[in-house]
């Protein structure tokens, strides 16, 4: 029984909410206002705003979450609920290159374990971890909708398809 119980993902660690929300430049505020103006209901703008905060701050940090909550007149828990649903939204700091390996059926059958092994071995980290130099983060995600060209992963927002271990080496080596 005991070996069947494996902690698969740590729960959110204690986060101390800052007193002050994040602040952004006038240009970013204008961009946010533009998105808010598109929707009759404020909270509908939650996803575009999350991407902006993530772009500006690297990930959704507590100050950023507080900013979103204030801006959308929601509670922080509402922001957290949406943020943790999407694998594109990061609630923890990630490296410069975020490698998201698809672990769903088609990729799995066509060799995802080999890809993951090669990536992790090359970078010396396990899925869910970030390299010490802060360049790479590897995470396992659900289907990215590219089953026809499986196996695949996504580095930041770029797809890399029909992967082989050799191709993985080439891709990682070519990154600036």
């Amino acid at each position: 029984m005991s070996q069947q119980l494996t902690q698969i993902r740590p729960l959110s660690q204690p986060v101390h909410m800052p007193d002050e929300p994040a602040t952004f430049s006038a240009a970013v505020e204008a961009e946010i206002d533009g998105h808010l103006a598109k929707y009759p209901v404020k909270r509908s703008a939650i996803l575009p705003l999350m991407f902006i905060v993530q772009r500006e701050r690297g990930y959704l940090d507590p100050a950023g979450v507080l900013y979103l909550a204030n801006r959308l007149a929601l509670r922080v828990t509402d922001i957290w609920e949406v943020a943790t649903f999407y694998s594109m939204i990061q609630t923890r700091p990630v490296g410069k290159y975020h490698i998201q390996i698809c672990k769903t059926l088609s990729c799995k059958i066509l060799g995802e374990p080999l890809i993951t092994e090669r990536v992790c071995k090359k970078l010396g980290i396990k899925p869910g971890e970030t390299t010490a130099d802060g360049r790479f983060t590897v995470s396992m995600v659900e289907c990215l909708g590219s089953c026809g060209t499986a196996p695949m992963f996504q580095i930041n927002f770029d797809y890399h398809e029909n992967l082989t271990p050799e191709k993985v080496d080439r891709i990682l080596d070519s990154l600036p």
Partner: protein, 763 residues
């Protein structure tokens, strides 16, 4: 209102149902059992557990009956091999990640998943992969969480949102990794614990009762809450003379509050068995001396002789009798009888902060029940903060607006949290509530009242517009801080605002569980009120008998008064400011140890039932009065029976005529007191008084612009909540402990006293 009736056929049985009825409810009402986890009456639909599957003819697949609205001619099958197979598969699926740790789970024995597994579960599990595992943790001092037991029915998140309006608890992550929790892992909410109550598994647990008892060891007694005037029904779980926990009543017994309780009702009970309870009667033989334990006989004899000599020396009116609005109707009735018939004094009063006598004397319409509030179409709230002071009323208002489309108009000087629900929030100056009454009664020009309230006249026109558009119930709520004239005018508003297509109902918001009962028993119509009595201490008033204690607000600035009395007798649970001056202290029994009735702000007379024997040597308040009367030579003749006292109440108090304990037996069908409805009368004198007062009103007070913190009233440390260690943490701002895996009581020390209390509480 006539409703269209349609015909549905369920398992070959034709059933007439109103149009728009929900299939799952219709099946259950017709005696066909349908299992479900996520469906919860009056909450948003979820349809995630898929246990309520039925076969509907002409529909291609099995349907979730919780999401189906009945249509005419629908033919439904609720039981078949196909449905059972699907349901068994669902239970197997729900159990895939569920640990089989029922023997150590606090929910074991009263768990819906456990029952469902007995009915629909398979003998063996085919799921052999690794189970999801999460560590147990605390979400707050009140709520413990074991995420791996969760079946993601999301009742907790819906209750938190729709009942409480707090959105404190949500589902994070997705798919099989979804976890119920909160951002940052620490709940910053009003700690009502309703998420614990509605949880069908052991995922959310009462942290104050954790690993203390098993449900089958507890003797369950249905009783009424002893905190606010909403009078929620609850179930006291006791073991061996100790009150272990409080839960709400079953949700299928749709009584007053369903499964709703607030933090005080659910977690405020440890005072009952607290070690600081007064243990024996005590006598202070000499002023300035110590209180010395005595026997009941000695103490009562001492009180009787003192009262006798003071009455002989200074006259009967030199004795004051004071009751608490927390006492039962029986105790208050007997106190009144004791004061008027036996002592013969006009000086009796209750320690309530407000007196609603003028309101009830002019009452032009019945009191609204909480069910009326839920289905009201317009609600006018003048002053008050129901969410903090009458949480069930707050919840009903929110549901009326969110689920019923009601329109809420708030007059308040503080931007209370309920304004998020309001269609119109009128931000008035502090103390200008009377001007709002005047405006509704049309007793002055709009320009005058608007100026005094500090608002635009257009706001008042909008209020009138909303009220005139209303069809259905209009409910007027007010807290008790109005003057007598304003209360009288308000009570007659029902005649001014009545129309063919709507009822006008009232919902006063007094502060205590039996404020209304104290009024019905006549304790509020004594010659003087409590503060006047305190001011007259040592002059007109020489001796006072108090059941309960004076409120700190009443003693403020009058600290010397009690010392001036020749004699002070106090019936109390705990030592208070009042007992420190007492010549005799008698240990009173708490609500969990007595039989009786409370009358709530709906006018419902509800039973208080004995759950445990009286703690230490305490006695029910009415029995103390009875014994004292006997010592003074008058036999009331009630013996040991609270129901005999109630029978006399039913004979003497008009609104209670014909009531008996057996008629109050079914808490799902509460009985409303028949308060006299006053005829319409000319209220121009009262309006004149209010107008004069409003004209003289100061226009300088600033409006409060900050919304008060959640719990600013709920978490206040008073005599009773002081005895709950967790309340001290909440009152100190609910600090986050270092580790979420250990109870915060073991990690946070606010002061040395708190630490000692935490050890006593055991968790």
């Amino acid at each position: 209102m006539t409703q269209d009736v349609i015909k549905v056929t369920i398992n070959n049985k034709d059933i007439q149902v109103p149009k728009g009825a929900r299939l799952i409810e219709v099946c259950r009402d017709s005696g066909f059992d349908i299992p479900s986890f996520c469906y919860y009456s009056d909450l948003a639909l979820q349809a995630s557990c898929r246990m309520c599957l039925v076969r509907i003819e002409k529909m291609p697949k099995l349907q979730t009956s919780c999401t189906i609205t009945c249509t005419d001619g629908m033919v439904v099958t609720t039981q078949s091999e196909e449905i059972e197979k699907a349901q068994r598969a669902m239970v197997e699926f729900l159990l895939a990640n569920h640990p089989l740790d029922c023997p150590v789970c606090d929910r074991g024995g009263e768990c819906e998943l456990q029952e469902m597994a007995f009915d629909w579960g398979g003998l063996e599990e085919r799921f052999t992969e690794k189970k999801n595992y999460y560590a147990e943790r605390y979400l707050s001092p009140m709520v413990a969480n074991d995420p791996q037991r969760c079946i993601l029915c999301k009742r907790c998140t819906r209750v938190c949102d729709e009942w409480m309006g707090e959105d404190a608890i949500e589902a994070g992550g997705r798919g099989a990794n979804t976890v119920i929790g909160t951002y940052g892992g620490w709940l910053d909410c009003s700690q009502c614990g309703n998420c614990i109550e509605v949880c069908p598994t052991g995922t959310l647990l009462d942290a104050t009762y954790r690993h203390q008892a098993r449900p089958w060891e507890l003797a369950q007694t249905v009783s009424t809450c002893t905190y606010c005037s909403d009078g929620c029904q609850m179930s006291l779980g006791a073991r061996g003379g100790e009150l272990m926990r409080v839960v709400a009543r079953d949700r299928y017994v749709n009584g007053l509050n369903g499964e709703f309780l607030c933090i005080k009702g659910r977690f405020g009970h440890p005072f009952v068995n607290h070690e600081a309870r007064i243990r024996t009667p005590m006598i202070r033989y000499k002023k300035g001396g110590k209180l010395i334990p005595a026997t009941w006989d000695d103490a009562i004899r001492h009180v009787a002789s003192k009262l006798d000599s003071i009455a002989n020396k200074h006259g009967r009116n030199s004795i004051g009798i004071v009751g608490s609005p927390r006492l039962t109707n029986e105790a208050l009735y007997l106190l009144k009888k004791f004061a008027t018939d036996l002592i013969g004094t006009d000086n009796y009063a209750v320690t309530d902060s407000v007196n609603l006598t003028p309101f009830f004397a002019n009452l032009g319409a019945p009191l609204a029940t909480h069910r009326d509030i839920r289905y009201a179409k317009t609600i006018v709230l003048i002053g008050g903060e129901p969410e903090e002071l009458q949480p069930l009323t707050g919840k009903q208002i929110r549901q009326a607006v969110r689920n019923g489309g009601a329109r809420l108009i708030i007059f308040n000087s503080v931007p209370i949290r309920l304004r998020e629900q309001a269609s119109q929030f009128i931000h008035i100056r502090p103390g200008a509530e009377e001007a709002a009454v005047l405006a509704l009664a049309g007793g002055a020009t709009d320009s005058l009242v608007s100026r005094k309230m500090g608002i635009e006249t257009a706001e008042l026109e909008k209020v009138r517009g909303t009220i005139n558009e209303t069809e259905g119930d209009l409910i007027i709520m007010f807290d008790g801080s109005l003057s007598a004239a304003a209360q009288s005018a308000l009570a007659q508003l029902s005649y001014l605002l009545r129309a063919d297509n709507r009822r006008v109902l009232f919902h006063p918001l007094p502060l205590y569980n039996n404020s209304i009962g104290a009024l019905d028993m006549g304790m509020t119509n004594g010659a003087i009120d409590v503060t006047q009595m305190l001011d007259a201490a040592g002059r007109g008033i020489r001796a006072v008998c108090v059941a309960g204690s004076f409120l700190p607000e009443q003693l403020r600035g009058r600290e010397e008064s009690l010392a001036k009395l020749d004699f002070l007798m106090v019936q109390e649970l705990f030592e208070t400011d009042t007992t420190s001056f007492a010549d005799v202290v008698l240990p009173a029994a708490s609500f969990a140890e007595i039989d009786g009735t409370f009358t709530n702000n709906d006018g419902f007379v509800q039973r208080v039932r004995q759950s445990i024997p009286p703690v230490n040597q305490s006695k029910a308040d009415w029995m103390i009065t009875d014994q004292l009367a006997r010592e003074l030579g008058v036999e009331f003749g009630f013996g040991m029976s609270a129901s005999a006292v109630f029978n006399e109440i039913a004979m003497q108090v008009p609104g209670y005529a014909g009531l008996r304990y057996p008629l109050l037996k079914d808490e799902s069908k509460p009985v409303q007191v028949k308060h006299d409805i006053a005829v319409q009368r000319d209220i121009s004198n009262e309006l004149e008084t209010v107008r004069t007062a409003v004209e003289q009103m100061d226009e300088s007070p600033e409006k409060h612009n900050d919304t008060p913190d959640v719990g600013h009233e709920l978490f206040k440390i008073r005599t009773l909540t002081d005895k709950v260690a967790q309340f001290h943490l909440l009152a100190a701002g609910n600090p986050r402990p270092e580790s979420l895996n250990v109870s915060p009581l073991y990690q946070i020390t606010l002061s040395d006293d708190l630490r000692a209390e935490a050890v006593v509480a055991g968790d």
